[in-house]
Amino acid sequence: MRPALLDLDLLWVTGKGGVGKTTTAAALAEVAARHGRRTLVCEMDAKGALANAFDAGTLAFNPTMVAPGLDAMAMNTEDALREYLRLFVRIPFIGRIGPLAKTFDFVADAAPGVREILGVGKLCYEVRERTYDLIVVDAEASGHIVSQIGAPKVIADLVQVGLVRDQTQWMLDILNDPTRTGVAVVTTPEEMPVTETIDLLGRLTAETGAHPSAVIANRVLPVLFSRREQRIADRLDETLPILTNAAGSGVATVLDAARLTEQRRQTGAGHLDRLRGFLDSAPDLATDLPIITIPELFSRASGPRVVSLVADALTDELDPSTYADEATDEGAGR
């Protein structure tokens, strides 16, 4: 059965900088493609990270195939403007508007929401045209995502007349429909990313109309030991002479590593508990907003290899039956 998250038409993937947003977006797109969804993944900030994830050279505004059933593109305001003018304003000889596009760039810099709405508009247009079953957006970081997804709302509020104003409504219809558009917030089990996630979840729907559909916890360290085993692990230092005698002088470092790993795991688990506590108590959020976890991979690989490993991890996690299991586990744990 296909995971519900991938049944959307448009999935925004955001999160604090450095949490693995691009890899997660790429992996979600790959999972969707594996399930037979014609999928487009789009990088919004033109940093080239998505191209690296697929080892695809440079991505352009025109989608290129990066895997079977999976296309990738990079958003570009000027190209979006050209396409917009060609499609909606019906201006021929687009080449002649080159310098105008540049000037428009300045307007877009200054006028609220103009640059953003071109990008959002392009994505909504693709949704409306149904060229793809699913569009996964490697969106702006959580600090900027509200102004990005919220652009049509801002424009609708600020601009009284004109073509752009007229066109915000159909975009809002797509963006505000939780069965079509969702936002996945990626975090790591660390203080600032979790705090930003909580902050964003609190503001998202009120300020943009779009709905969060999942929280994805990336780089989560696994629980290695049962409680009894953990007690043994905590006391291994007492047996250092025996261990050193048997396995050499490097054992002390091996034990240090085990302690460090456990400390990192516990610190992270504390932050994830805080996140769960928020999700459980937030009245406005869908009560079944899942936390999907991607384990720390400790992989030496990068690029497509990592995307594929994360996609494997996500495939298990996204299986709807796992949500139910998780709920039961937690119930039993408490």
């Binding site: 000037t103 307007v107 810099d109 200054a110 609220p112 004109g162 009894r228 050499g248 990068s302």
Partner: protein
């Protein structure tokens, strides 16, 4: 004196840069404490968005541009010895903009017209990397007051670490831009220039003339402040290459942040800006990557099933041999995971070290830092006195 002490002694302004999530804010605060530990005088840390607990540890309960001094008792209570004073301030973008408008407005009418303009708030919050620009404006101001011996700025998280370097020139460009000239043309003369006509028609159809008029009104007001803004932006731009300024690039040794740090370090050098140091944060112990530990881990893995588990269980007393064996197996098997990460980190650290005169490392610490003692510990690592 350590490498860092020299840097903190010889500069008056330090810009802490790097990609998001690497601990820039914490490092900036720790640098402030490091400076006060070594030198007398007043150091100010201008921060952008500290975690709440860190903010309250620093005495920053509320957002505000006014610097507050960290209570000397807070240092004493944690057994931290400082010779100088540490002050902190939090960047408030909205207040910063209001301040700029008040300063550059030619008269009260323009000032009030801008501050009450409905587009003003919306535009300034998104306007040409305004966070970055304002952070540097503040640096300029605080340095110019002469009240502080050293000002350390924690730069705002941005989409691109380079955008902070370009912020002043973007501001200057904006005032000289065709956009501003074009927007203000209808006011000077009702006749459009031939060049602007087709664009105006397109823009008019797309955005609606009312919206354009609103924008134009706003920018006509803004243009009255041009000379003041441009002069200041030039001064701020000059600050970036001032010999009294140094950049400290902060990163973790993970793939993406290291990549960004390398790019940033190279760009600084290419622009004749002074790169003082690179700080690698949350670094794993280097011994992890060594062969001694790897050999021991491999041996331990082989022996974990046999007598060794029995000996260990016996020494601990009252624990099961089977569980002890499981623990030893896991500890040995999982060692490779962390060792791999450590090896990769060590590689990246050498790459980065070649780019800067000073390379500093702060080890991974359990828990987040949210008190003066934790910052002092970090300062010790930075100064190499831990």
């Amino acid at each position: 004196m350590s490498d860092l002490d020299n840097l903190l002694a010889s500069r008056e302004m330090i810009l802490v840069a790097g990609s998001g999530g690497v601990g820039k804010t914490t490092i900036a605060a720790a640098l402030g404490i490091a400076a006060a530990q070594r030198h007398k005088g007043k150091v100010l840390v201008l921060t952008v968005d500290p975690a709440r607990r860190l903010a309250s540890a620093l005495g920053l309960e509320e957002v505000g541009n006014a610097p507050v001094r960290i209570d000397p008792d807070a240092f004493a209570a944690d057994g931290v010895k400082v010779r100088g004073e540490v002050w902190v301030a939090m960047l408030d973008t909205k207040a910063g903009w209001d301040e700029l408008i008040r300063r550059h407005a030619p008269d009260v009418e323009v000032r009030d017209a801008v501050l009450t303009n409905p587009l003003y708030q919306n535009i300034t919050s998104r306007f040409i990397h305004s966070h970055e620009y304002l952070a540097m404006e503040q640096l300029h101001d605080l340095h110019a007051t002469g009240e502080f011996d050293l000002v350390i700025v924690d730069t705002p998280p941005s989409r691109n670490a380079l955008s902070i370097l370009d912020a002043p020139s973007r501001m200057i460009e904006f005032f000289g831009s065709r956009l501003l000239r074009w927007l203000t043309v209808p006011y000077r003369s009702r006749l459009f220039t031939v060049a602007s006509r087709p664009f105006y028609q397109v823009a008019d159809r797309v955005l609606g003339s009312r919206f354009l008029q609103d924008i134009a009104d706003f920018f006509v007001l803004f243009q009255a402040m041009e000379s003041g803004f441009v002069r200041r932006a030039r001064e701020v731009e000059a600050l970036l290459v001032d010999p009294r300024t140094a950049f400290i690039v902060v990163t973790t040794l993970e793939t993406a942040p290291s990549h960004e740090a390398r790019f940033l370090a190279q760009s600084l050098t290419a622009r004749d800006m002074s790169l003082g140091a690179i700080v690698a944060n949350r670094v794993l112990p280097e011994e992890l990557a060594g062969s001694e530990a790897a050999t021991s881990a491999a041996t331990l893995l082989e022996l974990a099933d046999g007598e060794l588990a029995r000996d260990v269980a016996e020494t601990l007393g009252g624990v099961s041999v089977k569980q002890t064996s499981t623990v030893l197996t896991q500890v040995a098997a999982r060692f490779d995971d962390l060792a791999l990460v450590a090896a990769r980190e060590s590689d990246r650290r050498s790459e980065l070290a070649a780019l800067a005169p000073v390379m500093l490392s702060v080890p991974w610490m359990s828990g987040d830092i949210h008190d003066v003692a934790g910052l002092a510990l970090m300062a010790g690592h930075l100064r190499g006195t831990d």
